[in-house]
Amino acid sequence: MRRGNLIFTIALLLVSILLLRATLPYPFKAKLFPLIILITVLILLVIQIFREAFALREKGAAEGKKGDSFRTKHLTIGLWMAGTVLMLWVLGFMGTVILLPFLYLRFEKESWLLSITLSLGCGIFFYGLFGYLLKMPLYSGMILERVLG
């Protein structure tokens, strides 16, 4: 955890440095506020990195190891999130509304009845309210967009 903390803080420092580099060429009025904020943040991040590095040196060895199951769970969740975004991009709004609950519930070994009922319920509710009643232009997905031109 402590090592992760330090890495995250260093990542924030790198992002802040990149932002500072992007800020410098702007005209005075446009860079005044960002410069004040960024310089303050950079100083505080350096202090934070020193604090975390010292803490890591003092107590680093005492840190417990995370189990394999913890990593696998995180990886699975990451894949689910990425898969949801991909599904939305490819299949569009309605495809995701129906497919996501079904796939997730089946993945979690819920019953077929619950998986199908919830998926169809979500589909009917979301389409009925947003598509049919409110006429919201629901994103149709990459495949349908290609097919329809």
Binding site: G4, L38, V85, W89, C122
Partner: protein
């Protein structure tokens, strides 16, 4: 004036009007509960429909609907950690942890009672302030709004749990996020590069959805449990009633935040997103248990909700009497007035006093009615937190998708929400407070814009030219110094004890 008040009350409680008031409240609650539907967007959808209606009828309907939206929004904020509306984020910070502890009923009860009393306070105070409201509103120029933003930003040092250093860092990074897009002062494109979607800056809702809702979904997925993590379900009336009583236990906080909300409502451009955080910050600053904020302190629910709903009284007054909208929803109300052929301005008080009072009464009635409906439904709503986690995960993800997409009907906002979900999860894991990040994000643009306007119009010493801005500056300094000084005696005695122990 008394005649006009009586006219307003009799009009709203007229048997022909009452069913429509009730209908407007129900629509408002549904709009608020569903994250994809914004209050302002719904008012915009209804504008073409009201064109043919009687002006008083149409405006009453719109006002009660608007009043109910934020009351509905707090339901999803507390139950799922997904803000129904952007004005309900602060209530989520303590409402959701309470739901996790099995006290969703209590949080809902407190939020609804605080909202109801806040709305009544805002409406009544505004009614009493009619004679002196004009100088108050006109006294707020760019230096005062700039200092209000700075006061809000100063709360980042107070609001973060744990390390104050991390709180200030994330507050600063939040401010930087507000700078993405075309700079309003110079027209320079900042930090957006070639990505056209970023040119107008980031929308509040996808960022908030990602930062707060996605990490909670990940949490439920990791543990596979229901939101409420207690064995025994406490979703009885007693829990809801306990929440209602909490508001009376903290009645001074409710009154103070209602007063803050009402005053902020009068300031043009300061919407509910800003005022909720100022009230939340004030609550933490004055609480006897500030360390419990963010972990499920009921004061953290009462403060933003009472302030948020009291603000509506001030906002409506400023919009009707001076044509100054405080946010998108009030812009729509003004548009409705114009569609119906009524010009907002001082004539509202001189020529349309009956209509003016009918709308003030509608606002109060709309809030009271939505609170009563929500309190009655709170017991059933709270049961949702005990539903199996596996079932809730896809539903919450769909709400996040819908909420992010519905704000501008843009699929990139959904991708953005997921990206901020990842950032939010890392921030949560490594104890970087997300609330200070959101405060910086909301107030950063205000601070910069009003600083540049003040500087250009009044010169570099603009603060010295405004007594109100100086008073707000004094409050800001006192607040910051107060935090450091309050901890000093404790630290001094701790050091003394540890020294004695070492010597002993």
């Amino acid at each position: 004036m008394v005649e006009a008040v009586v006219h307003g009350i009799t009009y709203v409680f007229n048997p022909h009007m009452l069913p429509w008031v009730f209908f407007g409240v129900i629509i408002g609650l549904v709009v608020g509960i569903l994250p994809g539907l914004g209050g302002a967007a719904t008012l915009a959808i209804l504008l073409p429909i009201i064109y043919t209606l009687d002006p008083t009828f149409a405006l009453t309907f719109l006002i009660v609907l608007h009043a109910a939206v934020s009351q509905g929004g707090v339901v999803t904020s507390i139950l799922f950690g997904v803000p129904g509306e952007s004005v309900n984020v602060a209530s989520m910070l303590d409402g959701y942890p309470l739901a996790k502890q099995g006290h969703a009923g209590r949080a809902l009860g407190a939020s609804q009672m605080a909202s109801m009393l806040g709305a009544i306070f805002g409406g009544v105070v505004m009614a009493c302030l009619i004679p002196i409201a004009r100088p108050i509103i006109l006294a707020f120029g760019s230096p005062e709004i700039f200092m209000m933003a700075i006061l809000g930003i100063s709360f980042v040092a107070i609001l973060g749990r744990g390390s104050a250093l991390k709180a200030v860092i994330t507050g600063g990074l939040g401010i930087m996020l507000a700078f993405v897009g075309i700079h309003s002062g110079t027209g320079v494109l900042r930090y957006a590069g070639e990505i056209m979607h970023f040119w107008e800056g980031f929308q509040v809702v996808p960022v908030f959805m990602g930062l707060f809702a996605i990490p909670e979904v990940i949490d439920i997925m990791l543990k596979g449990e229901s939101i409420a993590k207690v064995e025994q379900a406490s979703v009885g009336w007693r829990d809801v009633w306990e929440g209602c009583k909490d508001v009376f236990r903290h009645w001074t906080l409710m009154l103070r935040c209602s007063a803050i909300g009402t005053a902020l409502g009068l300031v043009p451009g300061v919407g509910g997103v800003v005022s909720q955080f100022i009230c939340y910050g004030h609550a933490k600053q004055t609480s006897k248990q500030p360390q419990l904020f963010g972990l499920g302190n009921i004061e953290g629910v009462i403060a933003p909700e009472s302030g948020n709903n009291a603000k509506e009284g001030g906002s409506l007054f400023a919009a009707l009497a001076f044509g100054l909208p405080s946010g998108a929803a009030m812009v729509m109300i003004l548009a409705a007035l114009m569609v119906l052929g009524i010009r907002p301005g001082p004539e509202m008080i001189t020529q349309h006093l009956n209509l003016f009072w009918t709308l003030i009464v509608s606002l109060i009635v709309g809030n009271v009615l939505s609170s009563i409906i929500n309190i009655l439904a709170a017991r059933q709503l709270a049961r949702i937190t005990f539903i199996k986690g596996n079932v809730l995960v896809p539903i919450i993800i769909l709400l996040v998708i819908l909420g992010s997409y519905g704000i501008a009907n843009n699929i990139y906002d959904v991708f953005l929400a997921f990206a901020f979900g990842g950032i939010g999860y890392l921030m949560k894991t490594y104890d970087y407070p997300r609330v200070t990040f959101t405060i910086g994000f909301v107030l950063g643009d205000y601070a910069e814009r009003y600083f540049l306007v003040s500087f250009a119009s009044l010169g570099p010493d603009f603060l010295l030219k405004s007594p109100i801005a100086l008073v707000i500056l004094l409050f800001t300094i006192l607040g910051l110094v107060g935090r450091s000084v309050r901890g000093l005696p404790l630290r001094f005695f701790r050091r003394l004890i540890s020294k004695e122990e070492e010597e002993g």
